[in-house]
Amino acid sequence: MTPIEWLDHTADMGFRATGDSVEDAFCEAARALFSLMFAIEEIRPLVEHRIEVCAPSLSELLVEWLSELLAQKDLSRLVFSQFSVTISGNAVSGFSATGQALGEVLDRQRHQPGTEIKGISYLGLDVSCHDELCVVQVIVDV
């Protein structure tokens, strides 16, 4: 199974990202997000950016994780291609993600901009983990 499957949504873009763990799936989702916007293979892992987010559920944590990464494009002008994350918590106390993203300052010549992502939606949002296989689904607003 390929880690990223692109979904059909009439107006916008969606993807399903798969990993061996929820952490892996979160990282694949981040790669999918930046693949929509840039030629991700051209983004060099030169700068490290730390991410810490929390949310009441895993699916909302995914929105926070991706929103935080997306915002850096405007806040620090950083774009990323490599990700790692540790997720902890439970359904009662909520979840947190601590991670790092590796990338560099946006270079419009080299990174070949694709389509701008306006936001991470909750439509069809899903995080499902069974038997060491985690699949997350996200629709982003274009």
């Binding site: 059909d8 107006a11 915002a71 405007d74 806040l75 419009r108 389509t115 701008e116 949002l125």
Partner: protein
């Protein structure tokens, strides 16, 4: 109960979804048979995102008045369908994040010139090059206007007015902008620092996706009286700017989807889709969101005003035309929520009207229209695809009665971006357009494939359906000559 059993044709282009289940009002769908067939097929196939289901969901929100409405460019959105309208009682009703979306007050500004096609034909290449160089477009582009925190707050409070006060435009631009380019009740205090910081370098940028800047020719006048009022004539060169509130609006949308989810729970509302999170209009949460949306709307008005200034400069450089000769015909948004007065069952009521992928379309004799347009109603600007046509329409009394004075905003997508990117090749789209006399300048060939004309519904059928149902009337048809895409 399957929807197809309950979608009733009222007359040409108008359908009714009777109230059922959790719906508090019926649904009213204005569309042609092909669109209805496609919507029903999506229901039958139980696709994950169905626009009809979204109409039904909106109809179930607290305090909704009249009907949950969808226009001929309907397609699935977030919470509301695109092309969706919901009007709410100011005391019993709610304000809904999904009724506005991420790109607050995304809209179109139409500029007229005194030039006819033959006068610019030899300069099209130069004009395209100059506009492409002058107007920042595409993912990661930055604007030249650098603002301090207090200046950005001023811009959020007063919108296009702030930009004009800095010398980037004329008082007439404001006269011919919806809300005079300045939504009242904007409070920058309720906009996060993150939203503001994301925006600092984005004032006066076009963005990407379906946003564009086009030089167009008025190909056909369909209503001479209204065209005359709007200053439009056959063969005239006009320019169209389609963009929104950029990162500031996007971040407000993201922030308030979270904040309003808490409000939804607090007030005990159950919503079938997360993007329908809402709060009572008169609650603290509802008022905060409305004040934030007004900031986003003002940011979009300011953005289109700044781009207007850049366009005027580029046109002056190439053609020597004075900036004041490029007149704002109208600037109108299609993702917004506003307080308006409407006649409902013979009673004048103040309502909160959400329009997601739909414009305001007020017919004659409304105080909200510029005085010069009041006899015919303000223009509705419908953005087509880069290979087909755009339209100027006007509102009607039937539209006021049936849609709370709302109009279509575009062709509406037919193919997903995934399918479009598979079916079309960016370079081929560019050369096909050139063979039709359309010069395309773009920062992203991938974006061009996704936005290929063939990925959209036929604009003619969308306009025809809107006309057939009587909610709007066509005034002028424009065809693109130069297209600038992000």
């Amino acid at each position: 109960m399957p929807v197809q059993d309950h979608l009733i044709a009222i007359h040409d282009g108008e359908w009714r979804m009777p109230q059922q289940g959790a719906m508090k009002v019926p649904g009213a769908i204005f569309a042609d048979q092909d669109t209805i067939d496609q919507l029903l097929l999506d229901e039958t196939n139980r696709v994950q995102w169905s626009a009809l289901r979204q109409v039904r969901n909106v109809a179930g929100l607290p305090g909704i008045v009249g009907a949950a409405i969808a226009l001929p460019d309907i397609h699935p959105g977030y919470g509301f369908p695109i092309g969706g309208i919901g009007a709410f009682d100011v005391e019993q009703g709610v304000v809904v994040v999904g009724g506005v979306g991420f790109d607050i007050n995304c809209g179109v500004r139409l500029l007229s010139t005194p030039l006819s096609r033959s006068e610019i034909e030899p300069s099209l290449q130069l004009l395209g090059e100059s506009l492409f160089r002058t107007v920042p477009a595409g993912l990661g582009a930055q604007g030249d206007l650098r603002l301090s925190v207090s200046e950005l707050n001023d811009l959020l409070r007063t919108g296009a007015e702030y930009v004009v006060s800095r010398g980037y435009g004329f008082a007439d631009d404001l006269e011919f902008t919806e809300e005079a380019g300045h939504m009242p009740n904007a409070d920058p205090e309720v906009v996060s620092d993150r939203a503001k910081h994301r925006q600092f370098r984005q004032v006066g940028t076009l963005g990407s996706g379906n946003h564009y800047l086009e030089i167009q020719v008025v190909e056909r006048i369909l209503d001479y009286e209204s065209a005359d009022a709007y200053g439009l004539f056959q063969d005239q060169i006009v320019l169209s700017i389609h963009t929104g509130s950029r990162a500031l609006g996007h971040q407000i949308g993201q922030d308030y989807l979270k904040e309003m989810a808490q409000a939804t729970e607090k007030y005990g509302f159950e919503v079938p889709e997360r993007e329908l999170v809402c709060a009572p209009i008169d609650s603290n949460e509802g008022q905060r969101y409305l004040a934030a949306v007004a900031c986003g709307a003002n940011c979009a008005f300011a953005n289109r005003q700044m781009i207007t200034h850049l366009v005027r400069g580029a046109m002056q450089d190439v053609l020597g035309i004075e900036p004041s000769e490029l007149r704002t015909v109208y600037d109108i948004g299609h993702n917004n929520v506003k307080f308006e007065t409407h006649c409902v069952d013979g009673v004048q009521r103040q309502l909160l009207v959400h329009r997601k992928g739909a414009t305001r379309a007020f017919g004659p004799d409304r105080d909200e229209s510029p005085i010069a347009y009041r006899a015919v109603g303000h223009p509705i600007i419908v953005g087509g695809t880069m290979g087909t046509a755009s339209y100027v329409l006007r509102g009607t009394e039937a539209g006021m009665a049936k849609t709370f004075g709302s109009g279509i905003h575009g062709a509406g997508r037919a193919l997903s971006r995934k399918k479009a990117a598979k079916k079309f090749w960016g370079e081929t789209v560019v050369s096909d357009l050139l063979s039709q006399g359309i010069h395309l300048w773009t920062h992203s060939l991938r974006g061009v494939a996704e936005e290929a004309p063939g990925a959209y519904k036929d604009i003619e059928s969308v306009v025809r359906a809107s006309t057939a149902s009587g909610i709007t009337l066509p005034v002028a048809k424009m065809r693109p000559l130069v297209v600038i895409k992000g």
